[in-house]
């Protein structure tokens, strides 16, 4: 008997960490699924203005983005430095807005959601209102009236 006992005294068995990877992988998959990388490449430089009265835009699928800003250096040689509109991945004109909106509406799974759609305007703060007004007028022409001026939270600054 003593032959076996000598091997060591019995302590509490160590907690097995074999399932730890599973837990961590679960977390990993959760984050991989939930987070979404930015899909469109930014061709214009945008620094949004600051504001305090912000409302969050829920439902990503119901938001269409319009970017306005000066082209980034890579494209400045071709496009110049004047502020431009970017729709999806391309530079565009204000006159292309109706087409863009029609496309966005077509993407909707449920036509009833049309009224809930919002156009998020991500505009650089240096941009002059002229080009913004053009976009607004085009949106109004196609009766797409819900707009959100994207801004950063100025709360921290106060």
């Amino acid at each position: 008997m003593s032959k076996f006992k000598k091997k060591g005294k019995k302590g509490a068995p160590g907690i097995t960490t074999a399932s730890l990877p599973d837990i961590v992988f679960m977390l990993l998959f959760f984050f991989m699924v939930v987070t979404k990388m930015r899909d469109s490449e930014m061709k214009v430089k945008i620094q949004v203005p600051a504001a305090t009265e912000l409302q969050k835009l829920e439902k990503k699928s119901l938001v269409s983005h319009v970017f306005i800003g000066s082209p980034i250096p890579k494209y400045a040689a071709v496009m110049g430095s004047a502020p431009r509109i970017q729709l999806n991945d391309q530079f565009a004109d204000a006159s292309q807005i109706p087409f863009f909106i029609a496309n966005e509406i077509e993407k909707l799974s449920n036509p009833k959601l049309r009224r809930a759609m919002t156009c998020a305007m991500r505009v650089d703060k240096e941009v002059k209102m002229g080009i913004v007004t053009e976009v607004k007028t085009e949106l109004r022409k196609v009766n797409f009236r819900k707009v959100s001026y994207l801004a950063s939270d100025a709360g921290e600054l106060e």
Partner: protein, 179 residues
Amino acid sequence: MPKRELPEINAGSMADIAFLLLIFFLVTTTIQTDSGLSVLLPPYVEEPPPPEKKNKRNVFSVQINGNNDLLVRGQKCFDVLTIKDKAITFITNRGADPNSSDSPQKAIISILNDNGTSYETYVAVYNQLKAAYNTLWEDESMSKYGRSYKDLSKEERKNVRKEFPMIISEAEPSDLLKS
């Protein structure tokens, strides 16, 4: 010769690898929550409607020129941040001052900007006006329901908003500084 058992692969470091991946994803991805000022644009009409004959006292006009100078009710305004208080005083006048609004329901905010106005200034002004109304709604819901505006039901919010309707009209921008 006794059969040798295969040594078990140590899975202890698996957790480290998974953690590394997890941290990588945590750092690189941002849960992007866009937030901004929500606005409902007016419907488009071919011809701008003739300027309604509104009693001048009920209009809180904010004009921004191409140099981002502000004109609030005909007076120069040097600080955007004062607009909020000015607007609140104007809206809650309730006929006391003959130059300010008759009642909150009749008060109209009018913004006129130039094509050369910077977007930053425009948003700052809009933000101030929204802030004014948000403050009024908050106060109203506090005194009427004893709860924050955020916690009200849809119906109650409607009631509060009816008391202080936000009417912001935007005139077609001028083009004084044509480049």
